[in-house]
C-alpha cells in the first residue's frame, strides 16, 4: 500500500468553492427555462383515508392551468419496490399519511398553481390509523398493506411487521449466567429528519416521444433515471438526468419524491415543468428516518467483561414496506468482541411518511440503546467507561456480532486516543456530566464509473457519476493528481450527467471517496499505461521498458536506453502525432470498503431550573483509514456530531391523536443552530484500510452514531437520573428532575 503522499493529506481549496461563496452555484431550484410551467402538489390532510373520488374539472378550467394529474395517471409497474416508490410520490386509492400526495397541477405561475390546488375536490373516507411502532405491531392494528408481512412471523404481531432479522452467535443463557450484573432496559427514539436546507427541487421536460431531460437535486441521478424511466414506461437511454449542485441530503435524497410527478405533468402539458417542495412538504412528505422502540439486555462481570448481550429492535418506517432494521441489528454490538450475542430486528409500517436513509441508517438508535446500558453497567460496577470498552473492543481478527471477521480496524486506537486526550481528564463544573460512546458504520463500495482525459496542454479532465455532496470533487481530483504524479490544480473533476459516463450507484454509504477513488486510481493507471506506450514509441523502445515515476515516463533498467524522463505534459502535447487522444477509464464495483469506528466524548451542562442541556465541550475520534483532505474529513465528523446532538436533545416528529404531524417547520422542529454548539474537536485516526490502494475508508456516516448515547450518558451523569427516550428536550428533563 502507498504510504508517502505528495497531495493526500493537504488541504487545497475545493474546486467548486468559488461558485458557492459567490452565489453562482446552481442548485435544484435555481434553473429555469423559457416557457416552463410551475407545479404544485395537493396533499392529504388525513393520516389514513380512502380516496373516494377526485374531481379536477374546476382546476383544469382555471385560466393558466396546463395539466392536472392524480394517481390514475400512473400506469402500474412490475417491480413492487418501484410501485411503492411511485405510490409514495402519488397516492393510488388510499392516502396513507398526513402529507401524502393526491394530485398535482402545472400552471403558468406559482400563484395560479396554488389557486388551482384549492379547486381540486377530493372526497375522503377516513380510516383507522396508527403512528406508533409498538401499537402498529399489535395484532388488530390497522394494517397499511395486506400480504406483505414477514413470512417467518406468527400471529403475535400484526401484518405491519414486514421484516424480521436476527444476527449473533453463542448462547445467551450461558452468557447472562456468567455475568455479575445484568441490566435490561427499554428505550424509545423519535423519528428525525435529515434536515437538509435545500428542499427537493427539479425541472422536468418530457416529450410525447418519450425523450426527456431532467434536472434535479439528488444523491444519485442514475437511480433517478432508473426509477423514473420505469414509472414513466420510457427507455432509460431516452431520459437524461443531470444532477444539480445538491444542498444537503444525508440519505434523504437517495430516492425520488417529486421527479416522476414533474415528468408526468410535463408529458401531459407538453412543456417543461419546475417543481419545488416547500419546507412543510419536506417534513410531511419526504422521508425521515425511523423511530424506534428497543429492548437491551447486557451482562457484565465485575471486571467489566461483557458476557452476554441481547438487543430487540422495533423500527417504524412509515407507510410502505421497507428494509432497514437489519442495519441496526448488525450495528448494535459491532464495537464489541462478544462470545454470546444476539441482535433481532423488526421492520414495521405505520401511517407516516415512507422512511428513507439518514446517515448510517438504522445504527444510531441501536447503538444509543446499547451504549446507554454499557454506561449504566460501568456506573453500577464502578468501572472506567473507556477501560471497559477497551477490554471488550473489537479488533483485527474479532468475529463480529453480525458475522464477518474484522480486518484491520481502528476502534482500540480511537479509544486509546480518547483516553489520552486532555478532555478526558479535565475537571467538570457543577451540573455537568461527561458522556462517552462508541459508534460504527459499515461503509460501502458499489458500482462506479470514471472517465479521465489527458488533455494536450497537460491538464486532466475527469468525469464521474456521483453527485458531490461535501467536497468529493476535491478529494477525487487529489487522488487523480496523486496517482498521475501531477499538481492538484491540473485536474478538473466534474459530475457527468447520465449520458456522459457509465452507471454509478447513489452517493451514500460513505462510498464515494472510497469507490470513486479506486476507479480514479485505476483510470489513472490505464492512462499511465498508455502514456508509457507513447513514450516507448517516441524513444523507440519496448513499452514494458518504460515505467511511470513522479508524473513522468522513464526508461527502466540499463538495457532500455538512456532517455531523460518525459512528463505527462510532454507526452500529452504530442499525443495527436503518437496515436491520438490519451484517456483512461474504469468501471467496477469495489467491495472492500472497510468499516469505520468512532468514539465521542462530550461534557453537557443541564440547567436544573429549565431542563435545558448545553453542550460545553465535544471531542470526536474516528478512524478514517487515510484522510485525503483532512479539513473535509473533520467537517464530516463535526457535521455528524452536530446532527447526533440534535437527535439526542431536540429533534422529533410529533404526531397528535389525529395522526397529523404537528411540527413541520424549522421553528418547531429544531435543528442545532450555531449558538447551541461549541467548537467540535475532530481527532483523525488513520488505520489504513487494506481494501484501498491509499488506505481510504468511508468517513461520512460513523460520526452520527456515537453522539446520541454520548449526550445521553453525559445527561445521566449531570442530573443523576437516566432517561430512556430521545429527544431529551427541556420539558422531558424537567419532568424527571
Amino acid at each position: 500500500m502507498k504510504q508517502d503522499f505528495k497531495i493526500l493529506g493537504t488541504r487545497p481549496i475545493r474546486p467548486d468553492g468559488l461558485d458557492k461563496v459567490t452565489g453562482k452555484a446552481m442548485f435544484g431550484a435555481d434553473k429555469s427555462v423559457t416557457g416552463m410551467l410551475h407545479a404544485r402538489i395537493l396533499r392529504s390532510p388525513h393520516a389514513h383515508a380512502e380516496i373516494v373520488s377526485i374531481n379536477t374539472a374546476k382546476a383544469e378550467a382555471l385560466a393558466g392551468v396546463k395539466a392536472v394529474i392524480t394517481g390514475d395517471d400512473f400506469a402500474d409497474v412490475e417491480n413492487s419496490a418501484t410501485r411503492y416508490t411511485m405510490q409514495n410520490c402519488m397516492a393510488q386509492g388510499r392516502a396513507l399519511y398526513d402529507g401524502h400526495a393526491v394530485a398535482a397541477v402545472a400552471a403558468v405561475s406559482k400563484a395560479v398553481a396554488a389557486e388551482a390546488l384549492k379547486l381540486i375536490e377530493v372526497e375522503y373516507k377516513t380510516l383507522p390509523h396508527v403512528t406508533d411502532v409498538d401499537e402498529a405491531m399489535l395484532p388488530g392494528a390497522p394494517v397499511l398493506h395486506e400480504g406483505v408481512k414477514a413470512r417467518t412471523l406468527g400471529d403475535d404481531v400484526s401484518g405491519n411487521t414486514v421484516g424480521y432479522y436476527s444476527f449473533g452467535h453463542g448462547d445467551l443463557e450461558t452468557g447472562f449466567s456468567e455475568a455479575d450484573e445484568v441490566i435490561e432496559r427499554t428505550f424509545k427514539t423519535a423519528a428525525v429528519h435529515q434536515g437538509y436546507i435545500e428542499p427537493h427541487a427539479c425541472l422536468a421536460d418530457l416529450g410525447g416521444d418519450g425523450r426527456g431531460e431532467l434536472w434535479c437535486s439528488t444523491q444519485g441521478h442514475y437511480m433517478v433515471r432508473e426509477v423514473c424511466s420505469e414509472i414513466l414506461h420510457i427507455d432509460a437511454s431516452q431520459l437524461r438526468v443531470t444532477a444539480s449542485e445538491i444542498g444537503g441530503g444525508f440519505g434523504g435524497k437517495t430516492t425520488v419524491f417529486i421527479e416522476p410527478v414533474a415528468l408526468k405533468l410535463s408529458q401531459k402539458a407538453g412543456k417543461p415543468v419546475k417543481l419545488v417542495m416547500s419546507r412543510d412538504e419536506v417534513f410531511r412528505a419526504s422521508g425521515p428516518t425511523m423511530s424506534s422502540s428497543i429492548d437491551i439486555k447486557i451482562g457484565m462481570t465485575k471486571a467489566g467483561k461483557i458476557t452476554g448481550a441481547h438487543a430487540k429492535l422495533r423500527y417504524q418506517g412509515g407507510a410502505f414496506p421497507y428494509e432497514m432494521v437489519m442495519m441496526g441489528a448488525m450495528s448494535a454490538f459491532a464495537a464489541y468482541d462478544l462470545e454470546h450475542v444476539q441482535a433481532e430486528g423488526w421492520d414495521v409500517m405505520t401511517n407516516r411518511p415512507k422512511m428513507i436513509s439518514y446517515r448510517a441508517p438504522g445504527a444510531p438508535m441501536a447503538v444509543y440503546a446499547v451504549e446507554s446500558v454499557v454506561d449504566e453497567l460501568c456506573q453500577k460496577l464502578g468501572l472506567d467507561p473507556i477501560d471497559t470498552r477497551l477490554l471488550n473492543a473489537a479488533r483485527e481478527g474479532t468475529k463480529s456480532s453480525y458475522g464477518p471477521t474484522f480486518k484491520a480496524i481502528g476502534l482500540v486506537e480511537a479509544l486509546e486516543a480518547a483516553k489520552a486526550h486532555p478532555h478526558y481528564s479535565a475537571p467538570l463544573a457543577p451540573n455537568t456530566g461527561r458522556g462517552i460512546s462508541c459508534g460504527f458504520w459499515f461503509n460501502f463500495g458499489g458500482q462506479v464509473s470514471v472517465s479521465m482525459a489527458i488533455n494536450a496542454d497537460g491538464t486532466v479532465s475527469l468525469i464521474e457519476g456521483n453527485p458531490d455532496i461535501g467536497g468529493s470533487r476535491a478529494s477525487i481530483s487529489m487522488m487523480a493528481a496523486e496517482a498521475l504524479g501531477i499538481e492538484f490544480d491540473r485536474v478538473r473533476t466534474i459530475v457527468g450527467d447520465t449520458a456522459s459516463v457509465g452507471f454509478s450507484d447513489v452517493t451514500d454509504g460513505s462510498r464515494v471517496t472510497f469507490a470513486v477513488g479506486i476507479a480514479t486510481i485505476k483510470a489513472a493507471n490505464a492512462a499511465i499505461k498508455e502514456m508509457c506506450k507513447r513514450a516507448a514509441k517516441i524513444w523507440d523502445i519496448d513499452a514494458e521498458a518504460v515505467e511511470w515515476v513522479d508524473g513522468a515516463a522513464q526508461p527502466t533498467g540499463h538495457n532500455a536506453g538512456d532517455f531523460p524522463p518525459m512528463s505527462l505534459a510532454e507526452i500529452a502535447a504530442t499525443s495527436g502525432k503518437t496515436g491520438g487522444p490519451i484517456a483512461g477509464h474504469h468501471e467496477g464495483a469495489p467491495d472492500k470498503a472497510g468499516v469505520s469506528f468512532g468514539v465521542h466524548m462530550v461534557d453537557v451542562e443541564v440547567d436544573p431550573e429549565t431542563g435545558f442541556t448545553s453542550i460545553k465541550r465535544y471531542t470526536a475520534f474516528q478512524d478514517v483509514g487515510k484522510a485525503i483532505h483532512p479539513a473535509y474529513v473533520e467537517g464530516q465528523i463535526q457535521g455528524g456530531a452536530a446532527q447526533g446532538i440534535g437527535w439526542a436533545l431536540n429533534e422529533e416528529y410529533i404526531y397528535g391523536e389525529d395522526g397529523r404531524l404537528q411540527n413541520p417547520g424549522f421553528l418547531d422542529y429544531r435543528i442545532p443552530v450555531a449558538s447551541d454548539l461549541p467548537m467540535i474537536e475532530a481527532v483523525i485516526i488513520e488505520v489504513p484500510n487494506p481494501g484501498h490502494p491509499f488506505g481510504v475508508r468511508g468517513c461520512g456516516e460513523t460520526s452520527i452514531v456515537p453522539p446520541l448515547a454520548a449526550v445521553a450518558n453525559g445527561v445521566a451523569h449531570a442530573i443523576g437520573v437516566r432517561m430512556f427516550a430521545l429527544p431529551m428536550s427541556p420539558p422531558k428533563i424537567l419532568k424527571v428532575l
Binding site: 461563496v21 436546507i197 483532505h629 457535521g639 447551541d676 454548539l677
Partner: protein
C-alpha cells in the same frame, strides 16, 4: 390582481420590476431578477438561506414583500466579492473548508458581513448568536465560526 411597479437598487445597480402585491422579495430576486444566490430553505424566516440586506439591515428576504423595497438599496451575495476579488469572508470560508454542500453559504456570507460592519471584533459567542438564524446542516458550524472570526481579524488588519 394588478402588479406594483418598484424602483430600487440591487448590488449598486438601478433596477425596476413589476411584482404582485403578495410576492416576496426573495421571489422577485430569484424569479424576476435572476439572482438565485439567495435560497429558499423554509419560506418562514427560520433558516436564513435567503438573507440579504436592505439599506444595510439584515433581513430574511422570504419575509419581505417585493413591494416594500421601493427606493431602497439591496445587497445580495452576488454583490459581495468577485472571483478575482473575493471578500475576505468568502476567502476565509473557502480556506477553512467551512462549506460542504454550500446551500447555506450565501446566507452566511451576507449575514456575517452585516455582523462585521456592526461589530468588527465579535467574540465567538457573539458570532454564534448572530449566525443562530442561519441554519447549516453539514458543518456543525465549527469551521464557519472560525472562518468568520479569522476574516474579522484580517479586516481589522491583524493578520494581513
Amino acid at each position: 390582481m394588478s402588479k406594483i411597479h418598484v424602483t430600487t437598487q440591487v448590488n449598486g445597480d438601478a433596477v425596476e420590476f413589476l411584482c404582485a402585491p403578495d410576492e416576496t422579495l426573495l421571489d422577485v430576486l430569484r424569479d424576476r431578477l435572476n439572482l438565485t444566490g439567495a435560497k429558499e430553505g423554509c419560506g418562514t424566516g427560520d433558516c436564513g438561506a435567503c438573507s440579504v440586506t436592505i439599506d444595510g439591515r439584515l433581513v430574511a428576504s422570504c419575509l419581505v414583500l417585493g413591494a416594500e423595497v421601493e427606493g431602497s438599496a439591496i445587497e445580495t451575495v452576488e454583490g459581495i466579492g468577485t472571483a478575482d476579488a473575493l471578500h475576505p469572508l468568502q476567502r476565509h470560508l473557502l480556506e477553512h473548508a467551512a462549506l460542504q454542500c454550500g446551500i447555506c453559504t450565501p446566507g452566511i456570507v451576507v449575514a456575517a458581513k452585516a455582523l462585521l460592519l456592526q461589530n468588527p471584533d465579535p467574540s465567538e459567542e457573539e458570532t454564534r448568536y448572530w449566525l443562530a438564524g442561519n441554519l447549516c446542516r453539514c458543518t456543525g458550524y465549527d469551521k464557519i465560526i472560525r472562518a468568520v472570526l479569522s476574516a474579522a481579524s484580517e479586516l481589522r488588519g491583524e493578520n494581513a
